[in-house]
Symmetry: C2
Subunit: 222 residues, 2 copies
Amino acid sequence: MEIKIVRKVLDVNNTMAQQNRNLFAGKKVFVLNVMSSPGSGKTATLVKTIKRLLPEIKCAVIVGDICSTLDADRLSVTGVQVVQVNTDEFGGDCHLAAHVIGNAAGSIDLDSTDLLIVENVGNLVCPAEFDIGEDARVVVLSVTEGEDKPVKYPLMFRVCDAALLNKIDLLPYLEYDRKAVVKNILQIHPGMSLFEISAKTEEGFDPWIAWLKEKVKKKLKN
Amino acid sequence: MEIKIVRKVLDVNNTMAQQNRNLFAGKKVFVLNVMSSPGSGKTATLVKTIKRLLPEIKCAVIVGDICSTLDADRLSVTGVQVVQVNTDEFGGDCHLAAHVIGNAAGSIDLDSTDLLIVENVGNLVCPAEFDIGEDARVVVLSVTEGEDKPVKYPLMFRVCDAALLNKIDLLPYLEYDRKAVVKNILQIHPGMSLFEISAKTEEGFDPWIAWLKEKVKKKLKN
């Protein structure tokens, strides 16, 4: 019974996601859905990413949290449009659903946006199940979280196009098996794009920014 | 409509949780529900905790993951009874529901168990909503996750009796404001018990073990 209910919710979500996709296609906006556990460094990564993309790529952000505007406050220092969604207004949802993104996009000037970044609620499980009409999905995994997460949360790694392995500045202080995490990721998602980065030092940002820029520009041209 | 459905699921869960509570009361088993983000160090913390409780407190563990038996393998080195629940068998659930705990408890010799530890699915959101019939709830928060998590995931900190701030061995390498996280936790949950620990070095374990032992012994006496 429970599974049936979930299916219905997901069917409605897929319809709304298609509406979002049509809207974003018409406006030539590339949508990036960024997901991770709480505390992986999504916000810090996005602040540094946006600073490197500007002014060439015009960015906007929808940031989802159950409560607070802490992340929106941090993102707004980049000067781009930021919309904070608090899911506690509709029951403390653990993910951003497509209709929430559709509503939030109404507050953004899409005509002057090339890249709309959605910073999802910190959760390595549920957001992976909800299509929001995005063009690409990225999962951020902090190296402090250990090597086993791709095996334990496979759906997230299966649905994402790229994984950002963040906080590599802490590697000297961790017992971390880099080969094991790469093997685990590629076992779940063969060929997945991987970028080892530090949002603190910006080490490893060049290939990640190049990957993202190429994807955004491809959509702008079409 | 969605909220109504969620309510119904939670009502059924509360009924099952009460059945669990009656079972555990009859068997004089103290049940500890341990929750956190993925990668906070729950399993490492529990391995060290169990080793310190044995042989005085007889322990057993139910460990929840969407996939894999990695955590059960790590916990089984303690020699205690370990039951792995994989939620992908019922739709990849992001939490352990009361009926799942009831079923898993059937595989455990409760007559020779004082403390049943439930290591929940790594998720700072959904498990907080599901009563499993436990006596106490603990949230593990890695210091690498930042200071803002109590404010962003308030329900988890509200429903838990204690917070374990883990990985304090990494503090010299982080920009971490200890006072801010304590303030954030106590703002959400005044009087919450706090233990700063390192599952790696076992620093800070004494007060945490004393807190847990006292709670377990109190139930055993009644």
